[in-house]
Symmetry: C2
Subunit: 224 residues, 2 copies
Amino acid sequence: MKQRMPVVENILSANDRLAEENRLRLDGAAVYGVNLMASPGAGKTSLIEHTIRNLSGQISLAVVDGDIATSIDADRAAAAGAEAVQINTGGECHLDAVMLQGALNQLDLTRYDLLLVENVGNLVCPASFKLGTHQNVLIASIPEGDDKPYKYPTMYRGVDALVINKIDLLPYIDFDMEYFQRGVEVLNPGLTTFPISCRTGEGLDSWLHWLQGQAAKNKSAQNT
Amino acid sequence: MKQRMPVVENILSANDRLAEENRLRLDGAAVYGVNLMASPGAGKTSLIEHTIRNLSGQISLAVVDGDIATSIDADRAAAAGAEAVQINTGGECHLDAVMLQGALNQLDLTRYDLLLVENVGNLVCPASFKLGTHQNVLIASIPEGDDKPYKYPTMYRGVDALVINKIDLLPYIDFDMEYFQRGVEVLNPGLTTFPISCRTGEGLDSWLHWLQGQAAKNKSAQNT
């Protein structure tokens, strides 16, 4: 369907301009923005809940939740103690910069150090749309299988950090970690990686420490 | 992004026409077509492997595998003993009718009773594109979580049967089957459902029996 390309390109460049505006707004308020992407059910919302619960008191955090339908995720983030804005994409398979712009309008950014954006569960489309966040983080999960870097290269290539969730299920699943990590290494050499289990809490400390460090570094860079 | 709508509508209606042509070709050869959709890693390829191995000798079967990149899935289907055609979508997040048309051109349809089409791993976009198959089957999996019907209603609403894979993981995961099935029932009342485990083989017999019955019914309807 080649005839779609010019339209798609125009949409993407309009999106990029808006993403830059979003970034300027975040930087103006010294808010560190993280775009969390994953397959449906990899554990984005669980990771956000743990992050809110563990960092509350140390860091001021807001959440933007993108979903096709329902406010289940924003409700969970709010219950965990964060300001949360739900975006229902109404069928769209990804967030884009204009949707994030709408969500930013609903937040008093001066109140936060960190903004976690939960994208729609999808390993394809979100990779093509910049939002204006500082980092793209992919959450993989053990039950998805060890071949995912090979099958979704654009997503794995484009992220700044990788969380590997549900490592508590490794004993019950055929998952070759070496094969998985070899695929990641080819696409994204030296990628910062956090093997974790939201269920048992294993590995969460490293993730929280890294995230807090990134937000603190951003804050001090913006304030100088 | 309202300005996209007319373009999208034109693409969808062109797709629908091609899907009808694909259906006519399948019907002309008395081939029963099944479109398998799922999240990345829910077990589409594993289910196809089991289906090939169990039905070989009883039914003549071909596979079309859709993926962003690689031929991992078609290789696995071929190793299991079926004729397999790989479609690499080159970044597209779903199969469409024109891609299936290309794949059908590579198969001698008169040789088969059943065609299994493995869509791209994605719970959003494949739901919008008819291929021309007779049935749409969704493969859910336990680790994805029990809230998926609520969060991906278009997909759950549009399918003719549901496979729930990885039930062997139920003891290790918080998954409320009643909550899950209540969500399914609201969207798709009375949906034919097969709880299975590709790992242990549990429940596979019902799926195989149903699939074989559908293909046989189609064959006899086309031949009368």
